[in-house]
């Protein structure tokens, strides 16, 4: 039996999903764009450096930006930040050959909702683009490990004097993240914990929201502390 929501997901029309591909490697950029076009996605633009990635995304307002983290001009997290600040509906999927965990985490903290290694297969990649278009985070085990690690790091930090709140995960959220990080699918986790896979999905989404919210609050605090909020 399927819920109405699932039905609507299943009939998601690829031709209505617009995508911008940003990668400085021509071979990769073309291959990714071709795969997307072949699968019926609407590739509205491609970009080969950070600045054009931002400009073209802002101009075309696609559903998904497929972003390589190592673009010349702007760092991956700067591109993500620029798109999030512009408040357009575009969601960012990171497709990276990089093993640089820190870069990935920074990009996710400022608003990217998915991360996939370039070594992923084509079907896995297309599924990730579909999920991102639907607003669902693409949580590979690697990304779950990074997010979990970041919360562990925040929890281990000494209590701040100003009593600032450090975001914490619930016991269940930690449990779910750990299972995602050790390679379990949402369905398997659901069966394992006796909850629906949709609940699993919500837990995962929550962890990401908490992290991004915390990061945004930190940025605002930083801006206020530096007097950046007052117009001059």
């Amino acid at each position: 039996m399927t819920t109405p929501e699932e039905v609507s997901e299943d009939v998601l029309d690829e031709t209505t999903v617009s995508v911008v591909v940003a990668d400085d490697h021509p071979m990769w950029r073309d291959a990714v764009a071709r795969d997307l076009t072949d699968a019926g996605f609407n590739v509205v633009a491609t970009a080969d450096d950070g600045h054009s990635a931002v400009n073209r995304t802002l101009a075309t307002r696609p559903d998904v930006l497929v972003l390589d983290l190592n673009l010349p001009g702007l760092r991956g997290d700067q591109v993500c930040a620029a798109i999030v600040t512009a408040q357009i509906p575009t969601r960012v999927l990171i497709l990276s050959a990089s093993a640089e965990q820190r870069d990935v985490l920074e990009a996710v903290k400022v608003g990217a909702t998915g991360y996939l290694l370039k070594s992923a297969g084509r079907e896995e990649f297309l599924d990730a683009v579909r999920a991102t278009a639907r607003g669902k985070p693409v949580f590979t085990p690697g990304l779950a490990g990074l997010v979990l690690g970041e919360f562990r790091r925040l929890a281990a930090e000494p209590r701040r004097k100003d009593g600032r709140e450090v975001p914490e995960l619930t016991g269940r959220e930690i449990e779910v993240l750990k299972l995602v990080a050790t390679g379990m699918s949402y369905k398997q986790i659901g069966a394992h914990l006796f909850i629906s896979h949709r609940t699993v999905q919500n837990h995962v989404q929550n962890t990401l929201n908490k992290l991004q919210l915390h990061n945004r609050i930190e940025l605002v605090r930083f801006a206020i502390a530096k007097g950046l909020d007052t117009p001059t």
């Binding site: 050959a97 084509r122 990074l146 690690g149 050790t182």
Partner: protein, 386 residues
């Protein structure tokens, strides 16, 4: 100023500044000591039994002293000859002076010139060399005087202390220099690796992942080629992944980044999931964890089935570190674990458990048929004293 060439143990080495300064000081000391010996002999030339011999000996020492100013190589031969000259010069006092004068506590012919030989040994060979040379000169002194007087003993003690102290100083300075060179070498290596990593990342890694992906798409033999490319990509990425400042601190502090250590186990069917920041643990803890993970992965390969994948999650939890190894293999039916433990057939699980409890840590194993096996290891990052 010309450099001293030093040949130690067959290889020409760059000497630290302090050692070079010691050689320069010694170069100044030798002529002064020689002039003083000549002056002393001249002042008492009327008491000397065989003045011609005294001048011959002092002439030879003078020639050597001059030679050492011009000839800048210092090796075992040079300091050996100098020590022999010093001892012979001391012994020649017996022929130069009458027995009464010697018994009366007269100075030896070369005065404190032999100290130069002791210092040369100390600077070249360290404290052992310095003390050995001081011992030789001391023996020559004793043979010369026959019945030692207060001055003889005094001089020998001073020589031994001098040889030992200067030699120790030379040792320390060389060790410090070696450590500094090593640090500079590591730094240069890191910089070079960064540069390589950038280059490789832009080209080779991208191409390898591209081949992997296309290979998977095309299927058949291309699939095999693709997975070969993926293997090489992963190895290469591990090789060029940059060494950061915390890693260098870890080298100095003796701690190990668990991410690097366990990252080596990543391959086609094994995924290592690290956090973004280095996980620094004591060397022994890291080695035991690595051995436990290796044993667990071997077990997965043997028992979980050919299609099984494994995930190794590394978590830092305050003072503890947790490593979770899960596979999606066939798993173990409920009760089988307990049964195996009861009959003592849990070789791998037991050895892992022992490793962890030796470190004051814990291991939890959980397995169900069809759902794979999950092993969770938790241990303190710092080694507990047992």
């Amino acid at each position: 100023m010309r450099e001293f060439r030093v040949n130690r143990g067959g290889t020409a080495a760059v000497e630290p500044t302090v050692v070079t300064a010691l050689w320069s000081g010694l170069g100044l000391f030798r002529p002064i000591a020689w002039l003083y010996a000549v002056y002393s002999a001249y002042v008492r030339h009327q008491d000397i039994a065989r003045p011609w011999l005294a001048w011959v000996v002092l002439g030879v020492l003078g020639a050597w002293t001059l030679g050492m100013v011009l000839y800048r190589t210092r090796n075992t031969w040079v300091v050996g000859i100098e020590l022999a000259l010093a001892c012979v010069a001391i012994m020649s006092t017996r022929l130069v002076d009458t027995a009464e004068v010697i018994a009366g506590g007269a100075k030896t012919l070369p005065g404190f010139w032999p100290a130069a030989a002791v210092l040369a040994w100390a600077v070249l060979k360290g404290w052992r060399g310095g003390m050995l040379a001081a011992f030789c000169v001391g023996v020559a002194d004793l043979l010369e005087v026959g019945v030692p007087n207060e001055n003889t003993i005094n001089n020998i003690v001073i020589l031994v202390l001098l040889g030992g102290c200067i030699g120790y100083c030379a040792n320390l300075s060389r060790d410090g220099h070696a450590a500094l060179s090593e640090a500079l070498r590591v730094q240069a290596e890191v910089r070079e690796r960064d540069r390589l990593a950038r280059t490789v990342h832009d080209g080779v890694l991208q191409t390898l992942s591209y081949i992997h992906r296309r290979g998977l798409d095309m299927g058949g033999e291309s699939r095999e080629l693709g997975s070969m490319a993926a293997d090489q990509e992963r190895l290469l990425r591990a090789l060029v992944s940059s060494v950061s400042a915390p890693d260098l601190d870890a080298v100095v502090g003796g701690d190990v980044d668990l991410r690097t250590l366990l990252g080596r186990y990543a391959e086609g069917a094994v995924n290592v999931i690290p956090p973004a920041e280095p996980v620094l643990v004591a060397r022994r803890v890291a080695d035991e964890l690595a051995a436990a993970v290796s044993a667990a992965l071997d077990n997965v390969r043997r028992h979980a089935g050919a299609e099984a994948q494994a995930w190794v999650l590394i978590e830092e939890r305050g003072e503890d570190v947790t490593v979770t190894i899960r596979d999606n293999g066939v798993g173990v039916p409920a009760g089988r674990l307990a049964e195996a433990a009861a009959s003592g057939r849990m070789g791998v699980a037991n050895s892992i458990r022992r490793r962890m409890s030796d470190l004051g840590g814990t291991s939890i194993i959980d397995s169900r048929p069809g759902a794979g096996t999950c092993l969770e290891l938790t241990v303190s990052k710092k080694q507990l004293s047992s």
